[in-house]
Symmetry: C2
Subunit: 105 residues, 2 copies
């Protein structure tokens, strides 16, 4: 791959958001902490990829993972960290832009 004169931080940030599902997962978590299956039901994503993306987002520090071992089948809850929450205006901006400019066939 070629190298660019781009700011590497910006490039990495774009690489995060410019990955399929990432934006929608963050959007979903904006409405509050949620369990794995809740996110899976809200988005048209398969469990396999959701698991993969959440692992990425956790590694990048945008999402926090909490396991409830007390209850019957293990329940796992995901929530936004401060870093993830800081993306709220960006994501809501995309939502607003979509409402204004996107037209469906």
């Amino acid at each position: 791959m070629k190298q660019s004169s781009l700011c590497p931080k910006f490039e990495k940030g774009m690489q995060l958001l410019g990955k399929r599902w990432t934006g929608l997962i963050l959007y979903q978590l904006l409405s509050g902490p949620q369990r794995f299956c809740a996110i899976e039901e809200a988005l048209p994503i398969s469990g396999r990829l959701l698991s993969e993306r959440l692992k990425d987002l956790e590694k990048e520090g945008l999402v926090h993972r909490h396991v409830y071992t007390d209850s019957a089948p293990v329940r796992v809850e995901y929530s936004l960290t401060e870093k993830g929450l800081a993306l709220e205006p960006v994501i809501l901006g995309i939502e607003k832009w979509s409402q204004t400019w996107i037209e469906l066939e």
Copy 2:
């Protein structure tokens, strides 16, 4: 693929931005109309994919393509449409977020 209860406009908007290179190409065009080779040099993207992405963006109405046939080797200039320019605050928001929150290894 499963169906979701998401707003289809938002879903489509995210699908656009959540595609590799799209964000960086739009960012590059924010600094003004540019020729194919200028974008190619500014970003770590190959000509093959740049051509593909610009075709998508033109089809979606975010980018305008103008061919200069008068000059020697054909020159093609790309610029943002009003729809594309409307994404400026979003893209600059991602840039700002990256500066603040991204850390490099």
